[in-house]
């Protein structure tokens, strides 16, 4: 493993690392204005995005390609720390997309703000960790990469340092996160103790032969540690407080970005055990089914409780947080089933959620920058006062509810069809998902009604914007408006013409699963 091969393979990651270090350096030499840091971050992310696209074998970008065609979806090398799957590379694109949208929206925070440089650098480092996770072939590598993301995001939540709510949220996030990380590492050590290796593929194939009990315990610990990452119920409670307390853009990144990394970790960790369900001798196969059953129970709890709790939330950010929790349930469901179409559906659902949830939280950021309160009731009549912003938010809600012509419909359609198609008791999971979707429509419809039907509150209509300096784009700030518009366009574009992305994800999922076997 010399640098000569390492650098081209990890070029997108190195680009991000370079951008992050340059930003920190820039602050040292006296750069102050947010615009510089933002431009540098966006440039780095865009370059990384293109490099990953080249690695995926996009036609016409061969010159940029760092990972050779044979290495993507190639046979696993025994003992390798990392490997390149096209599914993983697609997830890198998702993460870069989420980070890019947030970086763009960050531009509309006050131009000179304490921690501006650090926040951009942390955003980049968190993204770097997420990119690394997608390449993991080794348990310890996976957990370390997850920690890079986790530590960056704890800091990101509290970066303003002035806001006590942000600090409190960061502290809670950190304490629970540290506990979860400890549990994850303990689980990993149990698995290592059982099989003497940390290779994901070897562990997956071995379980539950030999020391089955030890390995089962290891998986239980890992389920909790990763369940924390993806806000699976009952490990979800931090999420609402943290999303609520964090700066709005950071909430967008946590809900739209970092949470998804945990989902990919689930994919990496459980694909092999799930693939072998039923294909082994009945005792071994059934033992693997118990993992599947635990995942399914987590998924069902997550979506149902998330939806029920969202139903009566008076505060917009908390409502979105619970809705985000319930969405994680759908994705877990797709992962738990473990067929290629289900994995495709889950991946698309993750992409949909990146766009929809990031977009929705960015609208919340914009609305609170306009001086409108945090309650759903404060949004009364927003459709009249802010037609474009409201239209974008309505679009994101419709997408989350899974209404046709949005990407949310396509992803749910694929996911539920895949569940039905997987046969047997998975049909009931589709039914459960469906009932949950129906339930979620209630609270989305309530927000729509608040925005479009209820009359504006008269006193707040004239309330001045919170920040001193007037912002472009009708008071929203160009960065924020641009990020929201970009997400909205992508939601519709992928809803109307999903075939290119859907087809590619489908093929990637098939390759990924055939790799596991």
């Amino acid at each position: 493993m010399d640098l000569g091969t390492l650098i081209p393979q990890f070029l997108p990651e190195f680009v991000l690392l370079g951008a992050g270090l340059l930003i920190l350096l820039g602050e040292r030499v006296g750069l102050e204005r947010r615009e510089y840091f933002g431009a540098l971050s966006l440039a780095g992310m865009l370059l990384a995005f293109l490099l990953v696209a080249a690695d995926l074998g996009t036609p016409g970008m061969g010159g940029l390609r760092g990972v050779s065609a044979g290495q993507v979806d190639g046979a696993a090398i025994p003992g390798a720390l990392y490997g390149f799957s096209s599914l993983g590379l697609w997830f890198q694109e998702f993460f870069l997309l989420a980070a890019g949208l947030v970086a763009l929206a960050f531009l509309s925070r006050p131009s000179v703000e304490r921690g501006a440089a650090v926040s951009y650098a942390l955003l980049i480092f968190a993204t770097l960790g997420m990119l690394l996770v997608t390449l993991a072939a080794d348990l310890v590598y996976l957990l370390l990469a997850l920690e890079i993301t986790a530590i960056s995001s704890y800091l990101l939540v509290g970066y303003t340092r002035r806001d006590p709510r942000g600090l409190e949220a960061a502290m809670k996030f950190y304490i629970i996160g540290a506990l979860s990380a400890a549990l994850s590492f303990f689980g990993a050590s149990l698995l290592f103790g059982a099989y003497g290796t940390t290779s994901l593929s070897v562990i997956g194939h071995s379980w539950p032969s030999g020391s089955g009990g030890l390995a089962s315990a290891g998986y239980a610990f890992l389920l909790v540690g990763l369940g924390f990452e993806v806000t699976a119920v009952p490990f979800h409670m931090w999420a609402v407080d943290v999303y609520d307390g964090a700066p709005d853009e950071v909430s967008a990144f946590l809900a739209g970005g970092t949470k998804k990394v945990g989902l990919f970790a689930f994919v990496l960790l459980f694909t092999v055990p799930l693939l072998l369900v039923g294909s082994l001798s009945s005792a071994t196969g059934s033992a693997r089914e118990s993992i599947q059953l635990s995942l399914v129970v987590l998924a069902l709890l997550t979506m149902t409780l998330g939806n029920l709790l969202a139903l009566l939330q008076p505060e917009m950010k908390r409502l979105l947080a619970y809705s985000s929790i319930s969405q994680a349930g759908y994705m877990l469901l797709g992962i738990a089933v473990g067929t290629a179409p289900a994995l495709t559906g889950a991946s698309l659902q993750i992409l949909a959620h990146v766009l929809l949830k990031t977009g929705a939280f960015l609208v919340v950021a914009a609305v609170s920058a306009l001086g409108i309160g945090p309650l759903v009731a404060d949004w009364r009549g927003l459709g009249v006062r802010r037609p474009y912003l409201s239209a974008a938010f309505a679009l994101f809600l419709l997408g989350l509810a899974g209404i046709p012509l949005t990407v949310g419909f396509v992803s749910k359609f694929v996911l539920f069809s895949a569940l039905v198609q997987a046969e047997g008791w998975f049909l009931w999971l589709a039914v459960a998902g469906l009932l949950n979707s129906a339930l979620s429509v209630f609270y989305y419809a309530r927000i729509l009604k608040t925005m479009y039907v209820d009359k504006s509150p008269t006193a707040e209509e004239t309330a001045p914007a919170r920040s001193g300096e007037p912002l472009g784009a009708d008071g929203l700030g160009w960065g924020r408006a641009g990020a929201i518009a970009l997400a909205a366009v992508a939601v519709v574009a992928l809803g109307v013409y999903p075939q290119p992305v859907l087809g590619a994800l489908g093929t990637a999922a098939q390759h990924f699963l055939s790799l596991g076997l």
Partner: protein, 661 residues
Amino acid sequence: MWQATYLFDWAFLLPLLPALSFVIVGLLGPRLKRLEHGGWVAVGFGFATMVIGVWIAVEEMLSSGGYTDQQYTWFSIPGNGTGTFPNGFSLVVGTLVDPISALMLIVVTVVGFLVLLYSIGYMHHDGGLPRYYAELSLFLAAMNGLVLSDNLLEFFLFWELVGVCSYFLIGFYYEKPSAASAAKEAFLVTRVGDILFLLGIFVYFATYATSGSAGGWAANGFPFVQGNQPFLAGAMGGHSTTLTIAGLLILGGAAGKSAQFPLHVWLPDAMEGPTTVSALIHAATMVAAGVYLLAVASLFLGFTPADQLAIVAIGGFTSFFAATMALVNTDIKRVIAYSTISQLGYMVLAVGAGFAMVGLYHLFTHAFFKALLFLAAGSVIHAVGTQDLFKMGGLGKSMRITGFAFLVGGLSLSGIVPFAGFWSKDDLLASVYGTLATHPVYWPFFLMALATVFLTAYYIFRAFFLAFSGPASRDPTLPTAHEASWVMTGPLLALSGLAMGAGLLPFIPAFASLLPGAGIPPHYGLSELALSGISLGLAAGGIGLAYSLWGNGKVYTAAPNSALGPVRALLLRRYYFKDAYDAIGLRGLYGLSRAADFVERYMIDGTVHGLERAFGGLSNRLRHIESGVVLDYAAFLVSGLLFLLLFLLVIAPWLVSTGGI
């Protein structure tokens, strides 16, 4: 070079044009004050849609039963050559013009245009007109899309969209709490039906995904073009129980949309919307979509005998049950709404008995005379500003056209020869009667349907006499009624013409080709003629009773404590169905949410105090960030872990050893 082409290929314009109107009116409506806030734009698009729709229907008549399908694959998931779907599966959208969709197109586009035109006068004084016309246009687009759907999944998508439009339009007067709650109720109840429908699709999908050629059929979203004969009936094989369940689920979906028992509660309350909306959506088109679904399903999926019995039972019972509730109601719109439920029950009954085409025949005539009744009622409400029948009276003199229109509608609904309703209802009863010999179990439902003839004639003429007969209105505070402008009377007269003549259209052979295999025009043997005589006699008796009790300004009042008192109360309270649903539905759901919220907020706080004592020292150190809560989150994390350990180490091995999984 332009060459003669059939408009079939342009059927996609039918959903597209009103959708365009939706966008234009929605965006520009507030600026188009001169054009009735976009109302005339919507009328213009509605007219164009009607011309194309009727043209396509005529082409379909002349093509004698052809199928014209335009199909596009929206998106598909690649397959890997093995497994249940070797070629993946896809969502297909397209337009399918076939005889029955052409028939529906006539109904939707004609009534749609007339209602839009009528709205110009009726809605003139209301606020929020851009919203009204935009939503009505969107509804037309969705309804045309539903009718033209070429597969079950596309059908379902438009099915949901018409439901959303209906929800918005019922709640149009959202400042009125009753309107808002009615909209919510309609949304909830029809959604129960929608979920059942979707579950039915799931069951088909899960059953047929694996079985050979049907797998391709399922993978493409169940295209209707599989043929016009029951496709599954042949492929049923060993799946008859599954098919019965799927059929019942489809019936559930249809019952939600068409307000059939026990999902009927929402339709009377939907009358909170504007009367025009009631005429178009809640009488002529959307509520009939449930019947259309059953007809389509019986044509290309096929129902098992058990399904058929269930459909007959639901339809026959609903027709009678809803008619009884119309007997005592004092609200002119609600009387007509119960009548709609009852008539939809007739159609369902016919489809269940195996006469889908006869059901559609009645759907066709009913759309016109029921829209007519609603619009006439709207004209009355517009003139006197109340819906209470007991305050009206004597309107026949001041509103001659409206009175005439209501009379035509009433005669058609009662099934008096030669009005439209007579032909279809007669055909319907005769068809069901014909099956009695083979299915004696249908007898009670047939008798209910027959009794309904009497009830129908009675309640609609009760309404007619109360509103239009007699010397003057009973409530002197009402404004002096006068006829509205041509935009309202024009549609009334047009619909009157259709309510008189539409029943005879199937006697034209070309038109009859839209209802293939229905035996239309019906064969009149001795028993059919006798049946016609009986039902005419029942209808005449109903009208006579209504006249003797309510005619010429008489108002019959039952003594308050007579034997009929409790029955009356029961009917007015609608057999207490709504109250029961409110209790178990809304309160149940929100109660559950509140309970979950309670657990999350308070029980956690409760445990926090206990934990604080346990972790006293640590808690003190953390107090400055006010987060004793964190400890609790950690506690949940650990308890989740313990549960998982228990599950994976103890429960799962035990389940495996007992073969439980």
